[in-house]
Amino acid sequence: MPKLTIDDQEIEVPAGTTIIQAAMHAGIDIPHYCYHEDLPIDGNCRMCLVEVEKMPKLPPSCATVVTDGMVVKTRTDKVKEAVRGVLEFLLINHPVDCPVCDQAGECRLQDYYMVYGLHTSEIPLEMKVRKHKAVDLGPMVVLDSERCVLCSRCIRFFDHVTHTGEMQFFGRGDHVEIGTFENRPLDNPYSGNVVDVCPVGALTSRDFRFKCRVWFLLSTDSVCGGCSTGCNVRIDHRDGTIFRLLPRRNVDINKSWMCDEGRLTYHKLTSGERLRLPAARGRDGMQAPMKWSDAISLVDTTLRDIASRHGQNSILGFASPSATNEALFLFKLYLGDRIGTSNFEFRLASEDKDATAEEDQVLRHLDKHPNSIGAAGLGLASDSLGGIDGAIVAASEGRIEAAVIIYLKPLVERPADRDLEAKVAKLVESLEFSVVLTSHKAEWLAKANVVLPVTQWSEEEGTYTNFQGTEQAAGAAISPGGEILPIWQVMARLLKTSGDERVFSSQADIAAVRKTASAES
């Protein structure tokens, strides 16, 4: 393990580490554009130049491997002078678009200028190189090649991550522009990632365009709810509205990437009308709103009654593979321990979709639910029923009288999955007594006996277990307010009403009980 002294700090690093990586470990920021941890090294921006003892010129720290005994300085006058020079060169032809550029506030030209630049431009406007602006590269990406610093991150992304090579350099010298073939729109399910990797406002998100200044946004760490991959994401929001989703780096799962569909899942959250109040069907067959306390009592009482008359297993717990582990744990606790059924299901897919089946070689999986593995792990799959189809048959044959159903619309749609909601509706129809916990209004809900308004992805704190079996925490970014409750809280209330003495008032409470439960099993 070579030892290196960087800015008077002595550290040891694994063989093969570059200076810039070593610096990151030591908590030292070396300015850079073209370097990216998940892309091949290019060494073209020349911002990361450092002083290394015994080297006559300033080497690029991104491309220089640490050797034992190396002495590096990143903040000398010589280095600062060099970096300032590179910045000045980048800025001579860069348009001062800040007032209309979405990158403002998270732009590396702005940020480094404030640290290393603070110089006045010495080039007259007429001399500036002009390039294409506001080029439409499809539904996800807008290109402004005049802002581009030609770091080639976008090119390397399409070459080495998706292996499709859409973006390239065209031309030579200071007239080089990035672009696609004839600037045709990008047709790539991962195109949004180039907006993330672009350190300036050359590639910006069409979805996010002009919607909000980034300094107004709050960020919440979460996990994508689009499929079983479980890409780590960051939800950027303001005053209860989500503005964009960005990937968070996770070396083992999604590196620095996420798919376009995942990025756009937050739009699904606001499509359709929200269910706002608990409601129950009266004797006239019409649903009327009721207070939560009444609804909880009604559910618990009715379920007990049915259980006593038809047997505990006449009750089915139909969970959602999009609900959190905490919600599902309490769901099982209530229906399994308190009501006493051993009939659980969650599988919606027409074929048994393996949560680990890949949809492509990059990131996506076929299972468009984030927590199938979690649901299975909690024992919510029934051998005898074999999924929703079996559940519908059992219900219509009277073997199942009642069910508590959690239904959350998948955030990513596939044509084959379109009839799944209809199946849930069919299940509801086939039951004597149905309780549906869901987020959005739907016509078929009128057939349910009790509907309970609950939170959806991004509104409920909890964990999801991805295709690798890794449990990951998702934060709650926004709150729908009103009478809408997180699923885990609804379950906690049912547990309490049913006489359970444990207190579930927080995620920590649930975690503690889960831990004990798994230790016992």
Partner: protein, 413 residues
């Protein structure tokens, strides 16, 4: 002086293989094939031959850097991308004595254990490439190349690869990148081509003139070669001389030959006025004033000491009718046009400097622009992936420093 390179260049049939052999051609190769491969490298090392493309790196040493028995193929690439302004010596060799190059390449390939070699010829020299291809065809027909190397069980193929107009492809890593089928972007070093070059394999890139000297060296011995030239600049070199001289052309002289003798004797003297300035080694080297040319000899060390460089040996002579800022503007336009655009300082700096100079020469510049040129030069120098930026810096600094008053006079008053 022994003519190493231009001995037969005036013979119109020198391109014919039989005539080439009659005049002693392919004897160097024959001798080499009877030696150990590493012995050939030692011979070239001992000769003191240095790269004639511009860098002047000891050729034998470069060959010695190539690791042997790696299991990977080794490649020898001939750099015939001659594009340095003022330089036209390789063209002469390719057009008039292509077999000499082929022989030199064959010897080099044998020494390096290389079996597949390419001549990267600039696309503009397509008509020259026809001649070289014809010579290659003759060599194959004579079984000098092909499955056996002049009868020895050593297959060797040499192919021509034409560039398509990019000065930067004369830089060795850019040449390799271009040969691999990409935009000619120079590569980061390390790794060095000797270890990882063409197709990630050990590669040596040598200039045409360098390789052409090899047959003579092997045939006549390293001692005979190193008997010519100076202590550190051995042998002979071709100098292309152009501009305000009465006999422009390419001349072979021993290294250490006085610059003024080349101008006044071989090139017949300055025309159209008095001598004002000389670029001694292609546009990438600092310019010398007439006064600075006095007593300067044409070798690597002397020119370095005089504040310039031997470079490619492209000598351009200016008389006193010339306005130096205009010359610099032409040169700056060249580098701006040829910058590959890969790294920031060169891409932006060459463009900016060219624009400032165009402005200045059109009478729209101001005196602070002159100091701005120095600043741009400082910001570019030593910070780039390849030396093209430095090649722009040398002329900018030397022209502006040595002819400052002319620059000032162009400025709008």
């Amino acid at each position: 002086m022994n003519k190493v390179l231009l001995a037969n260049v005036d013979q119109p049939d020198q391109t014919n293989i039989d005539k080439y052999r009659e005049r002693g051609g392919y004897q160097g190769l024959q001798k080499a094939l009877a030696m150990e491969q590493t012995a050939v490298i030692d011979e070239v090392k001992a000769s003191g031959l240095r790269g004639r493309g511009g860098a002047g790196f000891p050729t034998g040493m470069k060959w010695g850097f190539v690791p042997r028995n790696t299991g990977k193929a080794t490649y020898l690439l001939c750099n015939a991308d001659e594009s340095e302004p003022g330089t036209f010596k390789d063209r002469l060799l390719l057009e008039r004595d292509p077999h000499m190059l082929i022989e030199g390449m064959a010897i080099a390939c044998y020494a390096l254990d290389c079996h597949l070699s390419y001549i990267y010829i600039r696309g503009e020299y397509e008509f020259v490439a026809y001649t070289v291809q014809k010579a290659l065809d003759e060599a194959y027909a004579a079984k000098i190349l092909g499955p056996s190397l002049m009868g020895k069980d050593y297959p060797l193929d040499i192919f021509i690869h034409l560039g398509q107009g990019a000065y930067i492809c004369g830089e060795e890593t850019s040449l390799i990148e271009s040969l691999e089928g990409y935009r000619g972007y120079p590569r980061l070093k390390p790794p060095f081509p000797a270890v990882s070059g063409f197709l990630a394999s050990p590669t040596v890139v040598n200039n045409v003139e360098t390789l052409c000297a090899v047959p003579w060296i092997v045939k006549n011995g390293a001692a005979a070669y190193s008997a010519m030239g100076t202590e550190k600049s051995k042998g002979t070199k071709l100098f292309s001389i152009s501009g305000h001289v009465s006999k422009p052309g390419t001349y072979e002289v021993e290294l250490g030959y006085p610059l003024m003798d080349l101008i006044n004797n071989e090139a017949g003297g300055v025309t159209g006025g008095k001598l004002k300035a000389v670029i001694p080694g292609g546009s990438s080297v600092p310019v010398l004033t007439a006064a600075e040319c006095e007593g300067v000899t044409l070798d690597y060390e002397a020119l370095l000491k005089a504040g310039s460089m031997l470079g490619s040996g492209g000598v351009i002579v200016f008389n006193d009718t010339v306005k130096m800022p205009e010359v610099l503007s032409v040169i700056a336009d060249f580098y701006a046009h040829e910058s590959c655009g890969q790294c920031t300082p060169c891409r932006e700096g060459t463009g900016w400097a060219a624009k400032i100079l165009r402005n200045l020469v059109a009478g729209k510049g101001k005196v602070p622009d002159i100091d701005l040129l120095y600043k741009i030069a400082d910001m570019m120098e030593g910070k780039t992936i390849c030396p093209l930026a430095d090649a722009d810096v040398m002329p900018i600094r030397s022209f502006v420093t040595k002819f400052r008053s002319e620059f000032e006079s162009f400025c709008a008053s």
